[in-house]
């Protein structure tokens, strides 16, 4: 049984479709990355799974419990971190966690140890007595993660946990998520930082205009573009001429020019690439470089999506 199963989820706001018949599964222990441009429907999907949103149609289950009908059971099993969350003025870090631990019904006898444990896990033990409203963005984000872990949920739903963080804080959050992955947690994470997701996730869902465009392991998504070569050519001049020349060349597709660089897909063999390189040199294009670019998740994302919002 998948840890998370979402079926035909549709959400309409004031006649405007935000998400259209979304379906995917996340297996236990998976780290699933949900990516898409702003306004694609990621947060709507995540809020639905976090029991915060009534769907127009469809349902989802968390460890077999319906998000629509078994809300309390689902809430016991999820740890939810919104993309933006506030704190209560005047509370200390441990008091903030104590408040939420009691809200999750954790008994006093276990609470102290749990709070100490999660503080250690997110590396906030030294900030235990600090006031929450004085914490930096990165520290506050770690506090949010600590809060989501209090009741030891098997499924974590994290909406943009690294957004707005400086590079060091991002690295720390990524390391923490790796640790949670090793602990066997199932994690659904949305993020704009695709390089982070590529390292962390074993499965990716790409969503645009409320529709799931791709849903597969990271290697599979990236791999679908590896049958063709992505070539980048940089010239000192005559770039427009080069662009026109390539656009009419056999096996060449998706020619793009940025300043003095021209990038294109090439469906030919390695030998054909060597011949093309030789031909361009013979035609005296002032080549600075001619190289094959490795397809990354970011590259795949740009190729799959069109940058449209619903």
């Amino acid at each position: 049984m998948p840890a998370v199963e979402i079926r035909n989820f549709r959400k309409v706001y004031d006649g405007k479709v935000a998400v259209e018949k979304l379906s995917f599964d996340i297996e236990a222990g998976d780290v699933f990355g949900l990516i898409g441009p702003n306004g694609a429907g990621k947060t709507t999907t995540i809020r639905f799974l976090a029991t915060l949103l009534d769907p127009t149609m469809g349902d989802a289950t968390i460890q077999g419990f319906s998000v629509r009908k078994q809300v309390r059971e689902v809430r016991r099993r999820i740890g939810y971190l919104p993309d933006h969350f506030g704190v209560y003025d005047g509370m200390r870090v441990w008091e903030f966690l104590d408040f939420f631990a009691l809200a999750y019904g954790i008994a006093l006898t276990r609470r102290k140890k749990i709070i100490d444990d999660v503080l250690t896990l997110v590396d906030l033990a030294h900030k235990r007595d600090d006031l929450v409203n004085g914490l930096s963005r990165g520290t506050r984000q770690r506090l949010g993660l600590a809060k989501t872990l209090l009741h030891d949920p098997p499924v974590l739903i994290l909406d943009e946990p690294a957004s707005g963080l400086d590079p060091r804080a991002r690295v720390e959050i990524k390391a923490l998520l790796r640790e949670l992955k090793q602990m066997g947690k199932t994690i659904l994470i949305s993020s704009h930082i695709l390089s982070d997701l590529a390292d962390l996730c074993n499965k990716i869902g790409i969503i645009e205009r409320g529709q799931l465009l791709a849903c597969a392991p990271v290697q599979e998504i990236v791999g679908q573009f590896s049958e063709r070569h992505v070539i980048e050519v940089s010239v000192l001049s005559r770039e427009i001429e080069l662009e026109t020349r390539l656009a009419t060349t056999k096996h060449v597709e998706n020619v793009e020019r940025i300043d003095h660089q021209v990038k294109f897909d090439y469906a030919g063999t390695d030998e054909a690439i060597a011949l093309l390189h030789g031909a361009l040199a013979r035609e005296e294009f002032p080549l600075v470089w001619f190289r094959e670019v490795e397809v990354t998740l970011e590259e795949a994302f740009f190729r799959i999506t069109k940058g449209e919002v619903s």
């Binding site: 915060l52 919104p82 005047g90 809200a103």
Partner: protein, 530 residues
Amino acid sequence: MANAVFQRELRLGLRSHRAFLAQVVFVGCLAAVVLLAWPKGEKVGVEAALSRSIFQTLGVSMFALVTLLAPVFVAGSLTSEKEAGTLEMLLVSPISPAQVAWGKLMASVLFLVFLVLSALPVLGLCYFLGGVGGDEVVALGMHLLGFTVLVGGIGLTASAICGRTHGALVVTYLSCLPIGIIAVLLALGSEGFYHPETAAFLNFLETVILLILFAVICARLSRPPNTADRPAEEERPDDQAVMQLQRDYFPDSFLWPERPKGYLPDGMNPIYMKEVTCEIFGRGTGLVRAILVGTLVLTMVAGFFLSAGKTPVFFGYLDLCVLLIAPAFAANAFTQERERGTDDLLRTTLLTPADILLGKFRAIVRFLGVLTIFLLVPVPISFLAIGNAQTMGMTMAGLAVNVGLNLLVVFATLLISTATGLMMSLVFRSSAGAMIATYSTVFLFAVVPVAAFAVLDQFTTIPPTDLAMWGVSSPFLASLSIGGWNGARELFRDQAVPPVWAFYLVLALGGTAVALYASWKRLARANAWA
């Protein structure tokens, strides 16, 4: 006028539903007063005394309406910018703080002036009835404009000083209410009030005060304090001007309890504990101290009425305090969670809607209850006042019963106004919207019946005992019906006063239950709690 802030404010302000509604309510209420008071069956030449009476009633109504409506439009003027995080953007733009202050002040004040001007034709009707001089109509107009501008200035100053709209609203109401009461008393009793010279002199004073307030606003905007992340604990007693509140001293600890030293005990409602220890004083003690100072000073004044054998006046004052303060704390209870971004965190816990609702309700009722107890200081003094019971024609036991019933009315008012605020906080998305709706509702049920009573009693032949029964939703009429003031006997022309207080208690407690149930249903439905 090329002030960008002014142009934007005026355009957005006049375009809002709130502006249209205010205009409708303001002119509608005044037109209703004129309609009720207008002489029936007579063509021309009504008695000068009646005409004058209509004129005075209208003037008083206008002062009362401006006092009640104006703060709603000005108090959020700068705090809403702070809450949205746009004030800094304004202050770092080439627009100077003085231009920002001037633009905000002019936009707020001009809208209120439009409001008053739109009602002047209604006022002018009295001129045609005779008995009222044109100079008197002009003088009243000048008074109203000056008063409106002053209320606008006070509201904007509160908005510049306070961090949040609800705080600014409370401070504005508490500051403007005494001025409004003085204006109403002058409009009712002083002939000299209607002389243009008096109006001009008061307008001059109001202008001077406005200039001082403008300087305060400019100074505040020039050096805005960074209070965004300043926790309550960092507020030293030395920071607290006029009055100090320290949670480890009695009786302060009664109002502002100390946080539990250790972990929260099992079985405790965490929402209640959070509200009591963090939310009410979350941004420091400034707001609560302002409320305490304002209400305690007024209580000393109101206490004289109690000692003078006028219990309904004193308890009416307490009702008014509760009606003004309760919405400030209740109407933002849920909107604040949304605005701050803690709403989703709470909703995904295992707390039930009832836990959340009752936790907040109990905390606010507790705080207001303690505050009300603080305001009861004059009550024991009243018992000690020699001959006080006799002044009211009562035994000491009778006085005790009278005070007890009045207290029940005050606490019922506290419950219903808190429950109404909580309900509005769930219905509206913003704190400002919820607060305006709450104030409008409590004034509709509590103040409008009193005004209707006064107008109908003066201009119709309906017996006052019947009229009182129409106002069972008003705590003021409820207090009046308990007795304890010879003036009330005169008001009811020595007829047996119906027990409005009993109906009021039933209505208020029933209304509280209904409002809480509606809130619970809304909370449960909106958050899909199983």
